[in-house]
């Protein structure tokens, strides 16, 4: 591509304009690097903020510090090996990462998991959602200076992870989903234990409501900060709770059933009309409660039967392409698998939610003050492994 003289001049003029940002009093601008190691970034995200005094003029997230090349890795691994890799994409909502990949492979192989497997999958999917969002509910407090909520969040998250460990064997990397079903069945007494844990989760939501939602400091730090209107959110491709907090009634669990058991139970999609940081917190808080409600109903009537369909011992996926996306804790996550009939995928495109969610940062942080940048980043809630993959 050739660069014309006029383009060069425009670039130089732009650089000069950025260096002197305040046009009224002609002060020099300042560039502030948040990260790559800033605690507010949940990982190694770098945020370059150009400041005019306390105000942010331009803010740009720079990602790629944690790129692990999963899309390329899947091409040299077999299908059963890929599930152990994709656990590590969004490491807080571990199990939810496996499900769309397995579902895409199952569509290509024309296999359907037995109903019991689908129900247990849904239960674990929602437990992964709780494990993910409880940490956000506490972490948001830490970003705003309240230290206590995160201790409660870690404590109550551990109960959920213990339940997952009792079945899958792994707290963080369950690797439990298989093409055609699940690796194992539930151990005895697990359902009763999980019901007790769901009560703890509901209690945790009540505690968070008392601690943060009614708190005056939290209110003034989040209300009206980082407002994303519905059309902007849709334009930037935001998904998940960030989109629902802008008042868009959009949830793939309801709108795009993929065979899991969400249609069998009674639940509702929570939205908030405001679109500010408070709305994003509030929507996620309600979602955690709703997830506990879904799990309770699913636990009551798990169908009997096998957890594994008849699957060949060596899994070869026939030629074809499949795209399956589900509503993961962070938003829409999907896998586009291209198979050439081999043991592993020929190409696997991973669409993760955080990558889109963070794309709105330059837009939403324009003109806010520096402490509000932290609020906005915390409330957008991204996982770095989910951005960089």
């Amino acid at each position: 591509m050739t660069v014309t003289e006029s383009q060069k001049l425009a670039y130089v003029a732009g650089q000069a304009a950025e260096a002197r940002v305040n046009l009224e009093i002609e002060t020099e601008g300042m560039t502030l690097n948040l990260g790559p190691q800033h605690p507010a970034t949940h990982g190694t995200l770098r945020i370059v903020a150009k400041l005019d005094g306390e105000q942010v003029v331009a803010c740009e997230p720079i990602m790629g510090y944690m790129h692990r090349g999963y899309e390329k890795l899947t091409e040299v691994r077999t299908y059963p090996q890929v599930t152990t890799l994709v656990n590590r994409i969004d490491w807080l909502g571990h199990f939810a990462n496996e499900v769309p990949f397995i579902l895409a492979a199952e569509t290509l192989m024309d296999i359907e998991a037995p109903p019991r497997a689908q129900w247990i999958r849904t239960i674990f999917f929602e437990m992964a959602r709780i494990a993910n969002i409880t940490l956000f509910l506490g972490d948001m407090g830490v970003q705003l200076g309240a230290l206590t909520p995160v201790f409660y969040a870690f404590r109550d998250r551990e109960y959920v992870l213990n339940q997952m460990e009792a079945v899958t064997g792994g707290r963080f990397h369950p690797n439990f989903d298989r093409i055609g079903g699940l690796r194992d069945d539930l151990p005895k007494g697990w359902i009763a234990d999980t019901k007790a844990v769901m009560d703890k989760v509901r209690n945790f939501c009540d505690v968070m409501e008392d601690l943060l939602v009614g708190n005056e400091i939290f209110d003034s730090r989040t209300r009206g900060i980082g407002v994303i209107p519905a059309e902007v959110a849709l334009g930037f491709g935001l998904t998940g709770a960030n989109l629902r907090a802008s008042g868009v009634d959009w949830d793939l669990r309801r709108d795009q059933p993929v065979g899991l058991a969400w249609n069998e139970v009674d639940w509702k999609v929570w939205t908030h009309p405001d679109g500010d940081s408070f709305a994003r917190y509030w929507v996620r808080l309600q979602e955690t409660r709703e997830a506990a409600h879904i799990i309770d109903q699913l636990l009551d009537n798990i169908p009997a039967g096998p957890v594994m369909a008849k699957v060949p011992r060596i899994i070869k996926v026939p030629e074809g392409e499949a795209w399956v996306s589900t509503e993961n804790p962070l938003g829409e996550m999907g896998y586009y698998i291209v198979s050439k009939g081999d043991l592993g995928p020929f190409r696997c495109k991973i669409k993760s939610a955080s990558f889109n969610n963070i794309s709105v940062v330059p837009w939403v942080t324009r003109g806010v003050y520096v402490p509000d940048v932290i609020t906005i980043l915390a409330s957008l809630y991204f996982i770095l492994g989910d951005i960089d993959r």
């Binding site: 899958t168 792994g170 601690l211 708190n215 009997a304 096998p306 957890v307």
Partner: protein, 181 residues
């Protein structure tokens, strides 16, 4: 009517106080007056007391050497190829008198490099002869990374720590499994 300021703060402090009371005074009855924070805390003081992991927890892989037939399935299906197997063929006496001598595979080397292992459990799952098992044991950290390579004797020692498989929940059609002792 506007809400008076500070109600939310007081409410939050109340939650914290309640949780503190529950942690400091967890006992019932008269004993409630005696503080015992170690009993009420959710954490444990690790080297002195230990948490018991779930029986299915993936802590370390144990090897039942007699069951291994050197089929290499585990080494091939490992996502990061951290299992090293070598074996040779041996002549064994026939099962019945007058029969032909059998050829059996003997294991020379079975190493798992725990510095590389991702604890995915695929090797345990693919093993067709019940030679690999998960044990919830987790205390095998080493000062040198090379010591994390466990050979077949070390892997065999873990076999004692393998718990029995749990019975399944009602409605399950999975076959109950047994650990060979």
């Amino acid at each position: 009517m506007p809400q008076p300021k500070g109600i939310g703060l007081v409410k939050g402090l109340g939650v914290t106080l309640k949780e503190m009371g529950r942690t400091m005074f967890p006992r019932q009855g008269v004993m409630k007056l005696v503080p015992s924070p170690t009993q009420g805390a959710v954490t444990v003081q690790y080297p002195h007391e230990k948490e018991a992991p779930a029986p299915r927890a993936r802590g370390v892989i144990a090897l039942k050497e007699e069951n291994c037939t050197v089929c290499m399935l585990c080494a091939r299906s490992c996502p990061d190829w951290c299992i090293y197997i070598e074996g040779h063929k041996e002549k064994a006496p026939p099962r019945r008198a007058g029969g032909k001598p059998r050829t059996v595979s003997a294991l020379d080397r079975f190493d798992i490099d725990y510095a590389l292992c991702m604890y995915c459990g695929i090797c345990v799952e693919v093993c067709p002869f019940d030679a690999l098992f998960w044990s919830p044991e987790y205390e095998y950290s080493e000062l040198r990374i090379a010591d994390l390579l466990h050979d077949k004797e070390r892997l065999g020692e873990w076999m004692e720590t393998v718990p029995d498989f749990e019975p399944y929940e009602a409605g399950s059609e999975a076959k109950p499994r047994k650990v060979p002792r």
